[in-house]
């Protein structure tokens, strides 16, 4: 097909660069500078989709972000599919592949023509609430069919091949929109030296100036645009962002800008370049120069292809050199739209008539029209369009002066294009994102930005100042004001002179009346994408949905991907009329981010795949990888979980690791435990307040285990803290709890007890920590140190010593989480790998065996040691854990948690208490999480006693062991309880002491 609607001259397209593209399986050609929409119109493609609910043919209506119909699937390959791209915003590139998204049953098949209009009438708003209820079970089936019809485009089925990134900015003035207002605002602000960001959603900056036929200083508008952009580009304090939509306005002047960096080049981005970028901008002052969208008029069959916005018709002619038809009827409520008729005529096509709804329309624009020989029908309106696949005619009738009724005879005008203009709707969206309500303005016949707490100024058409010269002047002065407020005293830039015709007042008309009531009139569409009609809105109000929010929700008005940019105001007007209210009384719904849709990937940025979340490594990580470790995620850390040898199952590996440790010596990388260095003369007092146990007398050189509670008395972390000096302690925390504990300590220090002299710093990463455990631990360590006396009585359990291990200065703590003779070696992390490897160099004769978190868990469970976060869940206090030995009630200071654990519910009998659990069948390992019951035959719901918190097969004991909580468990030693499992088994088990191995603790003291 040729570009039959393309003009031979004019426009901002490059006829020397033809671009081939595909739509709906057909090949077409456009030019560089086209949008997909302008190229389709150039090729005379009328029907580009079918409507969602009624399957009516639809064409292109608008030329930018407000387009409701031309919403396509893009992408040449599976991985580059993009759903729901607005053709008016997609620049054409060579090889572009697009598909309609709403072509059911097919673009060319007139489904409704076949089945008649009754089925259409079966779909009033809310019909699904009223039907599909019987029988109850059938909804599932109904829903399957409803879901078949859902959605527009489709998601790709393959992962994205492109990347996205973020760029953070801070600026003095952010100007949104680079039309006449934004450009002159930018000039004022930039000249004053303020940091300025000017963002515009289109490929070319200039906005309406790019399709405007007015002269600025007697020169074409585009020349002024070029000059202005050149000047702005010359300032290093100015950032120009074309193809960048400011889509969200958040608190404290934080705005997000979605830049499409490569969508105009090809199906996917070039290597090393992100496809799209999200700019995160903190602006001192924001100037909204977002302009206004033209508002179409609502009339019968106004959704036929060929019905367009007047300004869009002008844009296609002037900017893209495309005349989207032959014979135009223009309906308008205002003078401004007369340009469209003039543009059409200047393009050499026929203007059938200008239908002006105002009987009083007599002024300069009308005089010009008459001079051009154009027919004006005053005080009249198009009440319905005629045609099937495209407009073939317009039915015109007289209007009463209030616009409420049709009068006089009807006449039919033959035409293929029906442009309408109901005036302008300021693009107030961004101004509403932080909760400000827009305010109706009768002069502007639209909502203007309301009061806000943001540092925001508005200029030009968004503020109801629609004329070009007003926009330029307003922009210049608001731009200067913004710069001044941001600390850069500025004068308004001089703006070019615009020769214009005076305009007479516009008429507030939204929905053109029809001789029939709306319920019986031809469908008058308010929201095209969601197929909401004037009749539907009236029906909603008739049914009692009177709030505009109810109307919106009941009819789905504004819920499309265009978020009702074209239709919302008309919908409110229809609702207001139906409720006998004014539009401000009816109110508006709230605009929310995004202004236009934003790619998930762009919002996620580079925080995906390998960079989704930090991966933290210990200094010995490489060794673990080399030695076949399987890893466990603990917080952000990767910890070795176990070290399987070839062909070993997990259980076999664990058995081997456990036995090796108990029989000889094992080693664990414990570097991930949180470590907090505490210095200051009150460090000891501080510890006494935040731990439940006593710290007053712990001598230098000794270590102690401590429990930490919240004010409610519930355990939240634990660990060993060592006294390094009178004024110096090193605390250890759980791996996952480290950051939280430090912040918790600081909270108390800084807010409650600032008088205590303590300084706390994390040293988690500074020390590499390796735990040698097992009867041969001492022998092995002795081989690597000559300055630490390892004698059992001089370096005792819970002591720490300083010395040298494998040639590296170390702190060695004789503490044990396994119940074995155990030394925790700490060296500066840069030497961790060296010491670790040296231990292995010497360890072979002791069969030194690396073990991971799982073996550690088993070994400690054999000893009945808890893991905070596994055996506790924020609802158990130290007494529940049977750890009264770790609570010192008579400390002078009422430590954190003390009062909490004395509350009525915390001291009752029958609390869930931590006990040991032994299955009657020693080979059965209870699943962690299994719930105990006394009577497994009890009907549902079965009263439960508590769950298994830890459960393992213990190779050392040759049987399963478990820890769990049981109601009143401390007084039920020896009782039998039952664990009904998901697979139907019921496991019998006995309540026992939590310590399964070496109850006297002899092994750690050897």
């Amino acid at each position: 097909m040729t570009q039959r609607n393309r003009l031979d001259t004019g426009g901002r397209i490059d006829r020397g660069t033809p671009l081939g593209f595909k739509f709906n399986g057909q090949h077409y050609q456009g030019f560089a500078g086209d949008t997909l929409a302008s190229a389709l119109l150039a090729n005379g493609v009328d029907v580009i989709g079918r409507s969602f609910k009624y399957s009516r043919p639809r064409g292109i209506v608008a030329a930018s972000a407000e387009e409701p119909n031309a919403v396509f699937q893009l992408g040449a390959t599976e991985a580059t599919q993009v759903p729901n791209v607005r053709a008016t915003q997609q620049e054409l590139f060579d090889g572009l592949v697009s598909q309609p998204t709403s072509g059911w049953p097919g673009l060319k098949i007139d489904f409704m023509g076949v089945v008649g209009s009754l089925l259409g009438r079966m779909l009033p708003p809310g019909f699904y609430y009223k039907t599909f209820m019987f029988p109850q079970a059938a909804w599932d089936t109904y829903e399957k069919y409803i879901r078949k019809a859902a959605g527009l485009g489709r998601s790709p089925r393959k992962p994205d091949v492109d990347t996205y990134d973020h760029l953070n900015h801070h600026t003095d003035v952010l100007i949104v929109g680079a039309g006449p207002t934004g450009l002159s605002a930018a000039l004022s602000a930039a000249r004053a030296g303020a940091r300025v960001i000017l963002a515009d959603e289109q490929a070319e900056m200039g906005g309406s100036l790019l399709d405007c036929t007015d002269k600025l200083d007697d020169k074409p508008a585009a020349e002024w645009v070029r000059g202005t952009l050149q000047e702005l580009a010359g300032y290093d304090n100015v950032l120009l962002l074309p193809r960048a939509t400011v889509n969200g306005y958040h608190d404290h002047n934080f705005l997000t800008i979605h830049e499409r960096r490569t969508d105009h080049c090809a199906d996917h981005a070039p290597t090393n370049l992100s496809r799209q970028r999200l700019h995160r901008v903190r602006a001192r002052w924001v100037v909204l120069a977002t302009g206004a969208h033209e508002r179409p008029l609502v009339y019968g069959h106004n959704d036929l292809p060929g019905c367009m916005l007047a300004s869009a018709v002008s844009t296609y002619i002037n900017r893209y050199a495309v005349v989207p038809g032959r014979k135009l009827v223009l309906m308008t409520t205002n003078d401004n739209a007369y340009r469209t008729a003039f543009d059409w005529q200047d393009a050499g096509r026929e203007v059938v008539a200008i239908v002006d709804t105002r009987a009083y329309a007599t002024g300069a624009w009308q005089a010009e029209a008459e001079r051009r020989g154009l027919k004006i029908l005053k005080g009249m309106a198009v009440i319905e369009a005629r045609g099937r696949q495209r407009v073939t005619g317009a039915v015109v009738a007289g209007l009463t002066s209030d616009g409420n009724r049709v009068t006089g005879d009807r006449q039919i005008l033959n035409c293929d294009t029906l442009a309408s203009s109901g005036g302008w709707s300021p693009v107030v969206h961004l101004s509403c994102h932080t909760g400000s309500r827009p305010v109706w303005d009768d002069d502007a016949i639209g909502f203007l930005p309301g009061k806000t707490v943001q540092q925001q100024l508005v200029a030009g058409a968004v503020n109801g100042r629609y004329s070009l010269s007003d926009c330029l002047t307003d922009g210049a002065s608001i731009g200067a004001e913004a710069a001044t407020k941001a600390g850069f005293p500025a004068k308004p830039a001089t703006v070019p002179f615009v020769r214009t015709r005076p305009e007479i007042g516009a008429m507030a008309l939204f929905c053109v009346p029809h001789p029939k009531p709306n319920s019986r009139a031809p469908k008058q569409f308010v929201d095209f994408q969601t197929d909401v009609t004037a009749a539907a809105i009236e029906l909603a109000t008739r049914e009692g949905f009177e709030s505009i929010e109810h109307i919106k929700r009941y009819t789905a008005m504004g819920f499309g991907t265009d978020q009702g940019k074209l239709g919302n105001i008309n919908g409110m007007a229809v609702a207001a009329k139906s409720l006998n209210q004014t539009i401000p009384e009816t109110g508006t719904t709230i605009f929310r981010p995004n202004y236009t849709p934003v790619t998930f990937g762009a919002i996620a940025g580079r925080h995906c795949n390998d960079l989704f979340d930090p991966i933290r490594y210990s200094a010995m990580h490489e060794w673990h990888v080399r030695n076949g470790a399987r890893f466990e995620d603990v917080g952000q850390w990767k910890r070795p979980w176990y070290f399987p040898k070839a062909d070993e199952t997990m259980q076999q590996a664990l058995n081997r690791e456990c036995l090796a440790t108990r029989e000889s010596v094992g080693i664990l990388d414990a570097s991930t435990l949180g470590k907090i260095d505490i210095q200051g003369k009150d460090a000891r007092e501080f510890l006494g307040r935040i731990y439940t146990n006593a710290w007053a007398k712990l001598p230098v050189g000794k270590c102690r285990y401590g429990l930490m509670c919240k004010e409610d008395g519930m355990v939240f972390d634990d660990g060993v803290t060592s006294c390094m000096g009178e004024n110096h302690f090193v605390m250890t925390t759980t791996t996952g709890g480290a950051a939280g504990v430090l912040e918790w300590l600081e909270l108390y220090h800084q807010t409650e007890w600032p008088e205590l002299d303590v300084y706390m710093n994390t040293v988690t990463d500074h020390w590499a920590t390796m735990t040698l455990a097992g009867p041969n631990a001492r022998k092995l360590l002795a081989e690597l140190t000559d300055d630490i006396d390892l004698d059992r009585d001089r370096f005792r359990f819970m002591d720490w010593r300083q010395g040298t291990v494998a040639g590296v200065p170390a702190r060695v703590f004789r503490i044990s989480f396994t119940g074995e003779l155990s030394y925790e070696i700490n060296v500066q992390a840069n030497y961790g790998l060296h010491v670790w490897e040296t231990l292995f160099d010497h360890g072979a004769k002791y069969k030194l065996t690396p073990y991971g978190t799982e073996t550690m868990h088993i070994l400690r469970a054999e000893k009945g040691f808890i893991i905070a976060g596994q055996d506790t869940d924020g609802s158990v206090h130290p007494y529940d854990l049977g750890m009264s030995w770790a609570v010192k009630e008579d400390k002078p200071f009422s430590f954190i948690g003390k009062r909490g654990m004395k509350r009525e519910d915390c001291v009752r009998a029958n609390r869930k208490q931590l006990v040991g659990i032994k299955t009657k069948d020693p080979s059965v390992v209870l699943p962690e999480g299994a719930q105990a019951v006394d009577n497994p035959d009890h009907p549902l719901p079965v009263p439960m006693l508590g769950h298994i918190t830890s459960s393992y097969y213990s190779a050392c004991l040759g049987r399963s062991i478990a820890l769990g909580v049981i109601k009143g468990g401390h007084n039920r030693m020896g009782d039998t309880v039952h664990y009904p499992l998901a697979d139907g088994r019921i496991v019998e088990a006995e309540i026992c002491n939590t310590i399964f191995l070496d109850p006297e603790g002899e092994r750690q003291n050897v």
Binding site: E711, E743, E752, K898, R903
Partner: protein
């Protein structure tokens, strides 16, 4: 997204550097052991939770690690002042907004 003035760093910083830590100016009872369950429960759980002016604690977690106070309108999210631990708010009524500027510590 908030932009908070850290009274210790003397600069506005992005919300991502901070954590909110709830209502400010709560103090731990002098004698917890002498509190009734009700008094203790009130201390740890019950909050004013106002719509409007709220004094709250934030910590400059990724930054100087200092806790400080913020007076904020919980409806408009306007920050009316930020001030150091241990000092009192200057704004205790939304009508005092005009004097609202962050304390430039």
């Amino acid at each position: 997204m908030f932009y908070l003035f850290c009274p210790y760093c003397g600069e506005h910083r992005e919300e991502e550097e901070f954590h909110p830590r709830g209502q400010a100016h709560l103090s731990r009872p002098e004698d917890p052991d002498g509190c009734t369950d009700e008094e203790w429960g009130d201390f740890i759980y019950f909050r004013t939770n106002p719509r409007g002016l709220h004094h709250e604690i934030w910590v400059h977690a990724v930054g100087c690690r200092k806790f400080f106070n913020v007076t904020r309108d919980t409806q408009s999210y306007e920050i009316l002042e930020t001030y150091r631990m241990g000092s009192a708010p200057r704004i205790t009524d939304l009508n005092d907004k005009q004097q609202s500027r962050e304390v430039q510590a």
